[in-house]
Symmetry: C2
Subunit: 236 residues, 2 copies
DNA sequence: AAGTTAAAGAAAATCTATTTTTTGTCAAAA
DNA sequence: TTTTGACAAAAAATAGATTTTCTTTAACTT
């Protein structure tokens, strides 16, 4: 909706800048789920007026990253085990539907772009920083986008994107943990392999496993602890 | 997201009031799709400050009823034949999935509420004003909500609701036309009948037909003319 | 004549200040 | 001891003014 441009430091508008930074913080779990987002405090922090913060927060409700309560202000969207389970299940259905369609319709250009995205992702993952690499999140999103890019239904893709963002929140919460156990690279390779072979059933199975295992990882690694911490609903 | 309360005239906040009224207008096709929504003009019209209008518009982007363009303001979401077709297809899949689950899980209370909603809807439809009855839209939404109310997946229900709103936009555009040809009552009765009989396949088929025929009706009755009119992209 | 640039007007974005609402606290009464 | 009410502090909501950005128009150059 809002183009951030190449330079995150210099946005098109104040609101856009606050929106981008806040969104990043929210995805990275900087704010405790359920905590209050106080407008004045954020305005001071970002050196802008409360109006700009209000609008940024309003826009973030579109993505369900924050929720607005009339006369009560804004709070960070909450997380829960049930929500993660439900989200994962729905996501698998929608992602795989898009993937099937993409495999059905994709041409050589689609294959080329997907292969390129996969290569970039591998490279970022292989770097010293591993998945903490600042670009890794972006490249990962790009790979999953390109996977379904040949799907011809804007609505399915829109819904897929919505759910991807929600899932990313959960995933990033435990990103800092040492999750080197899983071989995410291998999972991506399997998805790519089956997709390029136009093996729809195989690709769908690989993607489903990938999404399930990501959810499992979040579940086991960090959610319990995170929910415990959420008791102290401290603001900013 | 924002509770409108019983009295639409007296909302919780100015923003909420503007939001509610604008939303109603947008759904009713008061503004031409694609036209500009000028903040000052709306602020004057609703007797509130521009800030309140901005925030209301920001929130309406959540539902994709308006789109925001940085430094350009807000415009009414556009419509198209392709969008309607895609929307309808996705909607059928999601609505029927929710319905299957609802039929599987629904208890007697769910049946009772559904039957009550259907009765109210029938009564409104039978009144002199027919479907132009101001309450008809509300009761219709309630019936379709109650139909899937026993589905236990919040995410599927959320996505269903999103698409319902989008479809409602299209439907209301041609509401004023004389569409007495179709027997909508019969379609609703068929859905209700198959659902209460716990005939999942039959209910899904009836619901699919209902949604398809609604889209067909929009397609044939008014979309062409509407798109033609949309050439004059006049503001407010 | 076509294209480019400059200036003026309009509209969006933003800020500061004010009003309204909520929330937390403390004291008094049951 | 618990509850109730009022008061004070904090935060949200709103208005109005200001700054910035875009768009249109008209003059000017090629």
């Amino acid at each position: 909706m809002i183009s951030t441009g190449e330079k995150p430091a210099m946005s098109a508008s104040k609101t856009a800048g606050v929106y981008t930074e806040l969104r990043e913080d929210l995805l990275n779990g900087v704010y405790q789920p359920g905590s209050k987002l106080m407008i004045d405090a954020l305005a001071t922090r970002f050196r802008v007026s409360p109006s700009a913060v209000r609008e940024a927060l309003s826009r973030l409700t579109s993505e369900r990253l924050v929720v607005a309560m009339p006369q009560k202000g804004f709070t960070v969207a909450t997380v829960s085990q049930e929500d993660l389970d439900d989200l994962t299940q729905v996501r698998i259905e929608i992602e795989t539907r898009c993937l099937r369609r993409s495999i059905e319709l994709g041409d050589i250009e689609w294959e080329a772009a997907l292969l390129a995205s996969w290569h970039r992702l591998c490279h970022a993952g292989a770097s010293p920083l591993g998945r903490a690499h600042p670009d890794w999140e972006r490249l990962h999103a790009q790979f999953h986008d390109d996977l379904v890019a040949a799907c011809d239904s804007p609505w399915w893709l829109r819904l897929r994107h919505e759910l991807y963002i929600q899932a990313e929140r959960y995933r990033r919460m435990v990103r800092s943990e040492a999750d080197t156990k899983r071989d995410i690279e291998a999972e991506h390779r399997a998805i790519l392999d089956r997709t390029m072979a136009r093996d729809a059933d195989g690709a769908v199975a690989a993607l489903s496993r990938h999404l399930s295992q990501t959810a499992d990882h979040v579940r086991r690694t960090g959610l319990t602890e995170l929910l415990a911490r959420a008791d102290r609903a401290d603001a900013i």
